[in-house]
């Protein structure tokens, strides 16, 4: 074998750490991601071990009503004399579960629809996009209320209802990305090589469309948590005895002038969760974008 005009110098190239090891290093080097990881870990811990670590029974109305934060009740008590800290800790489970599973469901459904519509075009695109337009015409929350009214209340139905309401956002973003990516030369190259439609979508188009989808997903988690709160407030969510952040927040409304802690702390919990997921989402996006990746 003759040596063809070969590339002369092997330029310097440090050994790269790949996979999750690299993600770990990225998180360590990125302060925001680290904060996000620590915060989210605390919330996940609370979600998993909620009943074990909460100082009191969240539904025990044994204390004085509307007590401000004190040593006995670090976050105070509510209008029925229940310990707010215990309610928040136990509520983490439902809120996080609703937030994450809703977005996961909406993402899978929406991205699938969007990719199929963008890739195949024609009548597939028409059918999907007219449906999306229809859904776009209504506020997400109205759709969720309607779906719960049809499906009935309960945790699973709330998740299904909110995620269906979010499907259009994901479908629209995914379709837009596919429309631009499918004109790339590497897609033409994959077709020339003989790759199937599924392989082109899965291996060539989707990995290059992740960034905006991840951003949308992290933003949607907060809307999902708040959506569950709103549904619960209207009596269309989970049972009133189940403590969820949204429910606690909406119950606090009547007492907001007398008991600031009832509104502030559940709001803070939602905000910190959303923030930590956003930070981690940003890190994940950077991690997945190999072009921007630096060596950590």
């Amino acid at each position: 074998m003759t040596q063809h005009a070969s590339v002369p110098a092997e330029e310097f190239m440090p050994r790269r750490v790949t996979g999750w090891g690299r993600f770990g290093r990225l998180v360590m080097a990125d302060k925001k991601a680290l904060v996000g990881l620590v915060l989210l870990s605390i919330f996940v811990f609370a979600a998993v071990f909620g009943p074990l670590i909460s100082p009191h029974d969240p539904n025990d109305m044994a204390f004085d009503m509307i007590l401000g934060p004190s040593l006995a009740h670090p976050l105070g008590t509510d209008d029925l004399g229940r310990d707010l800290l215990s309610r928040l800790i136990v509520g983490t489970q439902v809120s996080l579960f609703v937030g994450i599973s809703t977005v996961a469901l909406a993402l899978v459904l929406g991205v699938t629809l969007g990719v199929l519509a963008g890739y195949f075009g024609g009548w597939v695109d028409h059918v999907v996009m007219r449906y999306i337009d229809l859904q776009w015409a209504f506020p997400n929350f109205i759709i969720a209320v309607y779906l719960v009214a049809v499906l009935g209340t309960g945790l699973v139905n709330v998740i299904v209802a909110i995620s269906l309401a979010f499907v259009d956002d994901f479908a629209r973003i995914a379709r837009g990305m596919v429309l631009s990516i499918k004109e790339e030369q590497y897609v033409a190259a994959a077709r020339t090589v003989g790759a199937s439609d599924f392989r082109i979508m899965w291996r060539h188009i989707l990995p290059n469309a992740t960034a905006p989808i991840i951003v949308q997903a992290t933003v949607s988690v907060s809307y999902a948590i708040l959506g569950e709160a709103s549904l619960s407030f209207l009596g269309l969510g989970v049972e009133a005895s189940t403590p969820t952040w949204g429910l606690i927040l909406s119950e606090s409304r009547s007492f907001i002038s007398r008991a600031w802690w009832l509104g502030i702390f559940p709001g803070l919990a939602i905000m910190l969760t959303v923030l930590s997921i956003n930070f981690l989402g940003d890190a994940l996006r950077d991690f997945l974008d190999v072009r921007e990746s630096r060596d950590y």
């Binding site: 074998m1 063809h4 005009a5 190239m13 090589v193």
Partner: protein, 356 residues
Amino acid sequence: MTVAAEMDRPTSKGPAAQTEGPLLELRGLSKHFPIRRGALIPRTVGAVKAVDNVSLTIRRGETLGLVGESGCGKSTIGRCILKLETPTAGSVHFDGADIAAFDGPQTAGFRRRVQAIFQDPFSSLNPRMKVAEIVGEPLIVHKMEPDRNALDARVRALLDVCGLSPRLADRYPHEMSGGQRQRVGIARALALRPDLIVCDEAVSALDVSIQAQIIRLLEDLREEFDLTYLFIGHDLSVVRHICHRVAVMYLGKLVEISESERLFADPQHPYTQALLSAVPVPDPEIEERRDHQVLKGEIPSPSNPPSGCVFHPRCPLADQACTETVPELRDLGDDHKAACLKAGEPPTFQPTTAPP
């Protein structure tokens, strides 16, 4: 010869390969892109005639050059041959069979035998895939190397053939130079041991020094693997260097086709003459004395081409007949064809070209 042996692992060639006749034949190929107007009810108001009634053949083992200005339809022809576009009219025959009539397995066989090298080494490689995945993909798609280690070895052999260190296998495209990326693109095209490779402006985006390396590589590979190339380009000196025959296109039409040296020495179509006179001669003294033929005007819109010969508004030789009659591709002897009513008459203008 270990690398060659590695490359020569059994590669079924799809439908039984013939040895007679041209490898590829275009018969009256046309590709028109409709122009649509109207927001609610789109209606077709016209068509961009990107390729209009082009017939040509590519013989086994030859390199056919396809040249012309940007927008003349040469890349569209390449895309039609690769089955990336469906022709509006006419057909593409590969090894005697119409590629539009292929069913699933036949298409897979066709894909195995016809590959492409694309123009832009920065957008023709998926930024999310490592070099090994890019080069190995054709082998995985066609299930030609189920064994992981064998696949790995074969990818490394392909990289080696294309002058790349196997150490690059773990890299992403953005970690390499333009020349290295183009070599990756070539390795991918070579993976299936194809018969025909469509080189769509394969060196146009590269630095001149890198161009020379890549052209040498393409020539070496042509010898080693009995390849046939369709070399689409606009750099005439490159085309002259690598091609056996050259076809010239203007506004979607084939205007002249001939054996390479003959075309450059004795161009018959006035457009070809103008094109050749635009190539600078790397000798200031000759360049000084040269008679340049500069074309007047702009390329007409391919959605509304001129009547008769599409070149007549810019042609120094055009007369009344040229505005009325569409010139057919005429054989001027010795396999030299030109689509010009005046072709064969003594040339009024003799371009000075660089010595070969």
